[in-house]
Symmetry: C2
Subunit: 325 residues, 2 copies
């Protein structure tokens, strides 16, 4: 694929739909009343492997040649892409080697192992996962399955936008606003491309942790801005150092801006989503809902589509958030 | 309606579908592996008002005459039916008076109030809610919306069985087993009727708290057996004293038996559902999953449909279960 188009996302959907769950688009009376809006939550935390990442990983792996598959693949990920690559590889009998940070949530490490991948841990403050992966790929002649900077991966993630669009059309709803988390930017690049195509007047906003607001800053400046290296956040899935070289040019076209939220706000949202929506959401999966619930943008009387991207939170962290909020 | 038939459930579905969420039917890789089965969880905790009860309540209220609506309605409920009746009444501008136990979960009381119903509290150990409701209905010439012993309510609950059947057929899956919670027996009567019609070989099992296993005992004995009055359970939604006069004859035909689970087992399941399925489930909504996860029935290599009926758990209880399990 040379460029991301809605038609490529349609093709990706045809390819992957037997492997994925068509996740629900759900509303909450309480949250609608509280926000004076109609909010439609897309629950990708209920997706196989606990996040949207299976969409992109399976769209990529399904297009490998048999020879490429037989040589195995290599990938790197903070955890959700790792689980998705491991799961899809396992399904197709492909050996997967995945570079993960030492301090990834245990649930993500354990599941990646459980799906049969070989894990190589690295220290994300002092080593480059891309370099480690390139080295292995070169030595062992393996394909790299990137977490976001790949058009096939982005098209796969875009299928979530297609599902949302189809469901809204069936219900005759015109969305005004789309709020979606943003790490490397693959999910929002794919899904906002499809939503803008289906609903030309929709406004698309990226939501990031406040110390990892590289996409917000890059959109403002019209060039790629890196995060400061000193930042920390509980949103382990959204710690990419800067917008992707492939994702950013797409997001420059489809996005209307960026929003940022704090860890404390995210924690409160995790509790509110458990209470009001009856769902368990990981920190990175809750940032879009956090932007909504802390009024980072005016939603009054609007139809808002909101991405809940994943649910892979360590039980100890979930339990401590639930206890302390 | 004189008798519950699948066609009456089809009619109920036509009536109520604009008011309800078609809730998802979701699987978990981990739970499938653990149980050696293919388990399909129907997530009615994601339904409007947080439980399946909206289906039956709205099917009943939609069939009232304008005159009946103008006089208001009266109902009684441990909490989930209360919220559903309050919500549906509010939608149609009908005044609702609802008799609830003093010790109902706060979330259920607060939501019922929030939807605009008038609540009358009673002491469930020493007073009869049916008597209080009859008295009001007689004096104020109001219709009673019963929680389960009413064919229209049962047909409404049955629409969840229709949704399950349609989704399984689309996926070309023949279910072997259906596990569903049972209080008064309305949900399981309606849904098992539809599932037996769609899949004649399916085995339907009611799951109850161990000290409220009246349906299990009644099915064994072939007559209605009451629970001992001394029992306690955290499954507040499933404390009906005995099978319903209307639900039991239906369940005698459609059910293959009953299973019972302990409160301690239910608590562990609530944690497991949060961890593995990313959902928040109330105790009564988790009993069918508990029967599965504690091997109360052989599911090896079977396709199992499992009802998650509601998610209205007080945050304090959820938090203490999450903390202590």
């Amino acid at each position: 694929m040379d460029a991301l188009t809605p038609q490529e996302i349609d093709k990706a959907h045809e390819r992957i739909f037997p492997l994925i769950i068509k996740t629900p688009l759900i509303s909450s009376e309480t949250i609608n009343k509280k926000t004076n809006a109609n909010v439609y939550f897309k629950l990708e935390n209920l997706q196989w492997t606990g996040s949207f990442k299976l969409r992109g990983a399976s769209n990529k792996i399904l297009q490998l040649s048999n020879e490429e598959k037989s040589r195995g693949i290599v990938s790197y990920s903070s955890g959700n892409h790792a689980q998705a690559v491991a799961y899809a590889s396992n399904l197709f009998g492909v050996q997967a080697t995945i570079i993960m940070p030492k301090n990834a949530p245990s649930i993500k490490i354990e599941n990646t192992k459980k799906y049969g991948a070989d894990i190589i841990f690295y220290d994300y403050k002092h080593e480059s996962r891309e370099k480690i992966a390139s080295e292995i790929a070169r030595k062992e002649n393996k394909k790299i399955i990137k977490p976001y900077d790949d058009l096939d991966v982005i098209a796969g993630q875009g299928t979530v936008g297609k599902e949302i669009a189809e469901e809204l059309r069936l219900k005759n709803i015109q969305p005004d606003l789309y709020l979606c988390c943003c790490g490397g930017g693959g999910l929002i690049a794919g899904s906002s491309t499809y939503l803008r195509y289906a609903f030309p007047n929709i406004k698309n906003f990226a939501v990031e942790p406040e110390k990892f607001n590289d996409t917000q800053l890059s959109l403002k400046n019209n060039f790629i801005v890196k995060n400061k290296e000193t930042g920390e956040s509980i949103c382990d899935a959204l710690l990419a150092p800067q917008p992707g070289d492939v994702t950013f040019p797409i997001n420059q076209i489809t996005l209307d801006g960026g929003l940022a939220v704090s860890d404390e706000e995210v924690k409160k949202t995790i509790v509110e989503l458990a209470e009001e929506m009856k769902v368990v959401v990981e920190p990175g999966g809750a940032v879009a809902a956090t932007a909504l619930l802390t009024n980072k943008i005016n939603v009054k009387n609007k139809n808002v589509v909101l991405m809940i991207s994943g649910g892979n939170i360590d039980y100890e962290l979930f339990s401590s958030i639930v206890r302390n909020c």
